[in-house]
Amino acid sequence: MQWKHLVIFFSLLLFVVGCSDNDETESVSSEASEPFKLGLILVGPRDDNGWSQAHFEGASHAIEKVGGEMIVVDKVNPADSPNITVPQVVDDMIGQGAQLIIATSDDMKDGILEAAAAHPDVPMIHASGDSAWTDGKAYHSELPMLANIMGKMEYGKMIAGCAAALQSDTGRISYLGPLINDETRRLVSSTYLGAKHCWTEVAGKSASDLKFNVNWIGFWFNIPGVTLDPTVVANEFFASGTDVIVSGIDTTEAIVEAGKRASAGETVWAVPYDYEGSCSEAPSACLGVPYFNWGPSYLDAIESVSNGSFKATFQWLGPDWKDINDHDTSMIGFLKGDGLTSENSKELDKFTKALGDGSLNLWTGPLNYQDGSSFLGEGESATDLQIWYMPSLLEGMDGPAE
């Protein structure tokens, strides 16, 4: 009996398809005079109190300024959305009239390259990528409209490391790392440099008493059964004597666990990451948060698309040293947390100021890699290329580098 019904089913289907095929052309031909449409692709949920939320709020802020609209698709990763790929999302966003697409994860690299190749004249940004860096190792000259934006979070991480070292009693600082790549190696190294400087130069303690240790969960956030569980890793850190965790992952497990332990009477703290508001998970256990402020750069990008000047540029933007927490100008900020003592807070301000006026450059030799080989010779300071493509961890850090 059933075959007959299958035939009916499929003919109905074809009918429906036939009818709806016309809609497609309509939605493509959106007018330029309409409000600006931005397509934002997030790797995690838009309310993760971390990386994805920072992008979401930055983009919302920018789009509000120009009075446009935003199409957001979040949780675009194979674990959460097995049947959605980045090129597919991009196609649909363009179909809906998006004039600028922002892909916001390192994990979307292959996907956004494929999408950019398929739509070479649609402006796109791969945040954290390097495909538009003419000097970079992965330059794609054939993609004229795929730009990159990234913040010089190295500064934020140095401040974070410094705060951790100033506050730590035990000298055991642990870094809750995501996955291992160039970006994460340079960020954890910056944290270490900041910590080492403040431990020895500011607090005047011996370098050998500082234990800096990193563990990687395997991805930007927890994927049950696939990554290590960051909650477990954080607790292991604390259990082994760590009193400050600096988080490098997209989500807030480190500060949440620190908060739990602090309210149980332990003297432990954490430094979350990415999103300005993430100290709110446990304010008194929070030493501060280095965060991205994507709003200004996204606003620039939107405006350049509107006036036709958008190009595949590579932007690696630092803080506005006049006020790193200025929402209209500074790409990178550091918001101090309630956990930081006022004394340490003052020291941290001094440290920040020194970074800003150029009197202190922590990327200065002599610096060795973890295996003892030389990274920077005496007095030599690192180039952007050297920092961006950090191949290993630094001497003095514990933990795998790849």
Partner: protein
């Protein structure tokens, strides 16, 4: 032969989930009509979207084909996800290690995926017939092992240079990609493979003596053994075959969808396929439209998120409603049929 009651149930089977879905849309403040429109638009609105829907259809069909085999043998093959993964791992191995022309590499990948899945399925089967481990627990365990294996490979021996991320391996060489038509992401080859395998599986089960013995084993192992059937061997056979077919789903996922190995390569399609086969009442031909519908809901839920700003898990909710209402209906139907055992089973 169609009884009046059947039509009634078919009607209810469509009406009830549709109404329930409408209520859900109202509940989340979405316009139900627009959402319905988006369902069709999102899944079938253009050749590209249709292709994307088919891209989800393919693993669902393959996984369902695999499950029909084990269900026919009376087994709950919960280990299907692991078998998909094993197939993908084996295919990825070929894609990474062998450089040759596309037809050669793809053939080798398909064969490797088949074998990889068979090994994983065979393990569950062996645990069941030799070790006396219930296939549900064995399968669950093997799923964990498979995920562990794939994470180990991606983080370890197969990691990208200088990177340790569970994000996935380096993309395969283009020779190891299933070929596509211009402007479409779906590979016609994978669609043909899936439909071909389903037909082959249905033919095997219904027309061959091995299939017959396998079904007899599933329906009544005791009586089957009185017919001289080595039921253990047939249970094992069912797991081997199902594993192989599931492995093919892994091959298409790796070579036609992701073009690389990712930890969640099975995409949960194995579990979804269990629902599909249950809904289809083990009748093969119903798998085609039901799997298509599930694929369409997955596509549509993306549109609902994109265009109505609805939560991304809404598609799962709708699928759940569908399954629940159909199961409730068929439960009711079974009760009302118990009273008149008409020889309806014959039309399978």
């Amino acid at each position: 032969m169609f009884v009046r009651n059947d039509l009634l149930f078919l009607g209810l089977g469509i009406l009830v989930p549709v109404c329930a879905s409408m209520l859900v849309f109202l509940f989340v403040d979405a316009p139900p009509l627009r959402a319905t429109e988006l369902f069709f638009e999102g899944a079938f609105g253009s050749s590209q979207r249709m292709g994307d829907t088919l891209m989800i259809w393919v693993p669902l069909l393959l996984a369902s084909s695999a499950l029909i085999i084990t269900f026919s043998a009376g087994m709950w093959n919960i280990g299907i996800e692991g078998q998909i993964i094993a197939g993908a791992v084996a295919a990825s191995f070929v894609a990474r290690e062998f450089e040759a022309s596309t037809p050669v590499v793809l053939t080798a990948m398909i064969v490797a995926g088949l074998i990889g899945g068979m090994i994983w399925g065979g393990l569950a089967g062996l645990l069941r017939v030799r070790g006396g481990v219930n296939e549900i627990f064995g399968g669950l365990g093997l799923n964990f092992v498979a995920t562990g294996l794939v994470v180990y490979l991606i983080m370890g021996p197969w990691s990208r240079r200088g990177i340790a991320s569970t994000g996935g391996t380096e993309p395969f060489r283009p020779q190891a990609w299933f070929p596509t038509l211009d402007g479409l992401r779906v590979s016609p080859l994978s669609v043909l493979l899936a439909i071909g395998v389903l037909i082959l599986v249905l033919w095997f089960l219904s027309r061959t003596s091995y299939g017959l013995r396998l079904r007899a084993t599933g329906k009544n192992p005791l009586a089957a053994s009185r017919f001289g059937i080595r039921t253990d061997a047939y249970l094992l056979l069912s797991f081997l075959l199902a594993g192989g077919v599931a492995g093919l789903a892994g091959v298409t996922q790796a070579a036609a969808v992701y073009h690389r190995l990712v930890p969640s390569i099975s995409g949960g399609y194995g579990f979804l396929a269990i629902l599909i086969v249950l809904l289809a009442g083990f009748r093969g031909q119903w798998i085609l439209p039901i799997a298509l519908f599930f694929a369409a809901v997955s596509m549509a839920s993306f549109q609902w998120q994109l265009q109505l700003g609805l939560h991304s898990s809404l598609g799962g909710v709708i699928q759940g409603i569908l399954v629940l209402s159909v199961l409730l209906l068929s439960g009711y139907r079974a009760i009302s049929y118990m009273r008149k055992p008409i020889s309806e089973e014959g039309d399978a």
